[in-house]
Symmetry: C2
Subunit: 166 residues, 2 copies
Amino acid sequence: MKWDEIENEVCSVSRTLAVVGDRWTMLIIRDAFLRVRRFDDFQKNLGMSRHRLSERLKKLVEYGVLRKEAYQANRYEYRLTEKGLELYPILISMAKWGDKWMDDGKGVPMLYKHNTCGKHYKPVVVCSECGEPIDPHDVTPEIGPGKFASSRAHSALHHVLKSAGK
Amino acid sequence: MKWDEIENEVCSVSRTLAVVGDRWTMLIIRDAFLRVRRFDDFQKNLGMSRHRLSERLKKLVEYGVLRKEAYQANRYEYRLTEKGLELYPILISMAKWGDKWMDDGKGVPMLYKHNTCGKHYKPVVVCSECGEPIDPHDVTPEIGPGKFASSRAHSALHHVLKSAGK
DNA sequence: CGCCATCGGTTCCAAAATGGAACTTAAGCC
DNA sequence: GGCTTAAGTTCCATTTTGGAACCGATGGCG
């Protein structure tokens, strides 16, 4: 596989990375969640080249993660769509991991208050069916219908999953 | 900021991306969770260049996400450490987002069985304090102690957070 | 023992992506 | 009418990545 074929992989992680797996893209999303909306604000906050920013924003709009909206003649804002807002679990999981494992000893950079209960919270990933927190050791991945249809990928992964039982 | 200074940003998302934000890295992690462990297996599964794979694996070992372990003289396995295992919420959140938003109409590529309850599950991010599912609209980010120490970043973000109240 | 295959890389060069400064275009503002 | 700001685009230098070929240490096998 080449990197630009990643979107066509039969894997939801690959397809997600086709959208947000580029250098800078998740940082643009992070800023969008912090209500940054304008070209120059993104550029100043991130320090990336205008060139690249322009391209990334265009791509995110094409994918439907951001929408571009004029707030004056010839002046635009970029805002998260529903699709973009649903990236939140990925973003907040990254923040939690960084808080724990990339700490520099000066305390966490940001706190997140859950307005519903009023407390600073950490995200916890739980099972949609039983509500228990997920431990990766307690999860068994299985070939789904989409992957089954793709026989080459199927056999390659099938081998891995079978042999992993050892 | 330049990309290779990203690790030193006062932001846990940036610091996480310093480890897993490179092209290919999350796919290596994905494979590791599917119990791929050997150099040639990663290379064949991913189709990336041996050159790059070699570098990425080395970096992940340096960061303590993978550990390299000889299973024979001169033959090695790469396995997730505790630090690596805790990337699971990020990975499974990406899978969920891709399932929903990057579907190609052929059904989901993979299903995940939660052994604890025996059902196929979706990850749900809930609040560590009250247990309710998190809606990003119900979260207020606040400057934490680590960010407060960094005054330039503080003032820039402070502005954003204040003006966002409008 | 000697040969061959496999694994786990490294080297080297071409191709692609990124960075950065300068330029452009269209409003608004005074 | 001239100045400023926002939102890009252009063009070239620098960095990263891709890919094929090479290399050295085991291990298996006749």
